[in-house]
């Protein structure tokens, strides 16, 4: 792997940046891998990277039906935070926050993690109480989160409208300073490049169409568009398509897939310093380094794989944005799009072994898994390599729906983010 550095940059300037070379190979699949990862989103690629880097398992194939990072990884609004309610979640999301700090250095790839702060607004007495509860729970669990009055919120985010006469006046907000954003594509590309350099094969444009099992039930390999590939272990990381892929092994899951939308404005000069979210009126917004306002809407109410949501859903979000930030009223929106998110009944992910020997699943991140990408890959690699979960992801089993030990993050995840 060619290491990126200031010197390389200077050197390549002399050849007009024409000779940088490929960032990863485009290999044909081998006949057999120790581990096959299905899905080359951020979570799948991170899993492959940590399998190779931390567990010495380098005979790994990542099989992707489209192009890498073309799923929710390349469609999300890139918010990173860890102020969830329960201790299990605090440990899980904080694990990722820890890895974000040095991810660019670790990958030798600028993922543009920017801890610009995530401010979650409260508009009702109930919101204030639930935000305070989160702040107290977070403090006990070692997660950064603090309360701002409306005036402090305005100081932190000057475009915010805190006048008392709007439909849902701002009554304060919970601020996580270590939260922020990262460049979604760069995360996928950085992990892809890092994994490839360690020997991982990334096979794009190759859908997995079946999971073959031996007579004793264990996994044998995957059927793909490029033929059968033998595998000792299979990790499924296919977000909105998890039910489809897992049904190939005869498993049914507690998942529903919904379209979730986002949109961006025309690019403008830096005008928005942080991330602002509101659960109650369902809106969230930040500004990308390119200058676009990045705005996230909600999910449609029905299961769909259409990868396009209803326009009334985005309208609803835009209404809220215009009331909270009146000076954005005349902004033009450039693009909007949808992704298919896999939601669980308790809005917490599943990172787990399954009842099929050799088959592992990492799913249920729903509307909010980008923030967890490094941690999710790190823990899932451990789970696959050791055939047992890491203590941090041990509570996030499929079994919790039977034992009743749900990790209910419906409030923390009420707004899609």
């Amino acid at each position: 792997m060619k290491r990126y550095s200031f010197l390389e940059l200077a050197k390549n300037a002399f050849s007009a940046h024409q000779n940088w070379g490929r960032q990863w190979r485009a290999p044909e699949p081998k006949a057999e891998y120790d581990v096959v990862i299905v899905g080359a989103g951020g979570h799948g690629l991170a899993t492959a990277y940590y399998l190779a880097k931390e567990h010495g398992i380098r005979n790994v194939g990542v099989i992707e039906k489209g192009w890498l990072g073309g799923g929710n990884t390349g469609r999300n609004t890139t918010i990173v935070r860890s102020n969830y309610l329960w201790e299990e979640s605090a440990a899980l999301y904080n694990h990722a926050i820890g890895l974000w700090q040095n991810l660019s250095q670790d990958l030798n790839y600028n993922v543009m993690y920017s801890a610009r702060g995530v401010l979650m607004l409260a508009h009702t007495v109930h919101d204030v109480q639930s935000a305070q509860r989160h702040i107290h729970a977070n403090r006990l669990a070692g997660v950064q989160n603090e309360w701002l009055t409306p005036e402090q919120a305005k100081e932190y985010c000057p475009p915010l409208n805190i006048s008392r006469n709007i439909r849902y006046p701002v009554m304060g907000g919970a601020l996580q300073r270590v939260g922020g954003t990262a460049r979604h594509d760069a995360v996928a590309w950085g992990y892809a490049r890092g994994a490839d350099a360690l020997g991982v094969d990334i096979i794009q444009n190759c859908a997995v169409t079946g999971i073959r099992r031996t007579p004793d039930g264990a996994v044998e390999g995957v059927e793909t568009a490029k033929g059968f590939i033998k595998a000792k272990k299979i990790g499924v990381v296919t977000a909105g398509h998890t039910s489809v892929v897992m049904s190939m092994a005869g498993l049914r899951l507690p998942l529903e897939s919904f379209p979730l939308q986002a949109l961006v404005s025309e690019p403008v000069k830096p005008a928005f310093p942080c991330v602002v979210m509101s659960n109650t009126i369902h809106a969230y917004i930040s500004q990308s380094d390119k200058g676009e306002l990045v705005i996230g809407a909600g999910t449609d109410q029905f299961v769909s794989y259409s990868q396009a949501g209803g326009i009334h859903i985005t309208n609803h979000t835009i209404d809220a944005i215009c009331e909270l930030f009146p000076h954005f009223r005349r902004m033009r929106m450039l693009r909007n799009w949808g992704g298919i998110v896999d939601t669980t009944p308790d809005r917490s992910p599943i990172l787990s072994k399954t009842s099929v020997p050799g088959l592992y699943v990492n799913c249920g991140w729903g509307t909010g898994g980008f923030k967890a990408t490094p941690g999710s890959g790190h823990l899932f690699a451990h789970t696959i390599a050791k055939d047992e979960p890491h203590p941090i992801n041990a509570p996030f089993t499929i079994d919790r729906f039977k034992t009743g030990r749900l990790i209910d993050e419906a409030a923390a995840a009420a707004v899609a983010h």
Partner: protein, 101 residues
């Protein structure tokens, strides 16, 4: 925005008049105390989440207020059939074949 037919009101209306109630024909265990944990999981949480033709519940909240069922292709979002609650699940494969899905 979907266009939905209410089989009670017998009108087509915009999706915003309706609330989706999720997968249809999931029967509540008839003898709760004899029901195993696995069967409770199936009833409460497990969903087929089909990519393709699928039966789901809708409620006409801003109309008659009643529940009914619909068959929809979750890839194109086209509806293939609407029917009243209590009617048996139609043959999904036949409906799909008929619609060329």
């Amino acid at each position: 925005m979907l266009l939905i037919y209410c089989p009670y009101c017998q009108v087509k209306r915009a999706e915003t008049e309706f609330h989706c109630g999720g997968e249809a024909h999931i029967a509540r265990p008839s003898d709760p105390s004899k029901t195993t944990d696995e069967d409770w999981v199936d009833f409460l949480y497990t969903r087929s989440n089909i990519k393709g033709v699928y039966a789901e519940r809708w409620r006409h909240i801003h109309g008659c207020g009643r529940f009914f069922n619909a068959v929809r292709d979750t890839v194109s979002d086209d509806f293939l059939k609407f029917y009243k609650a209590g009617e048996p699940m139609p043959d999904l494969n036949a409906l799909a074949a008929e619609a060329g899905k």
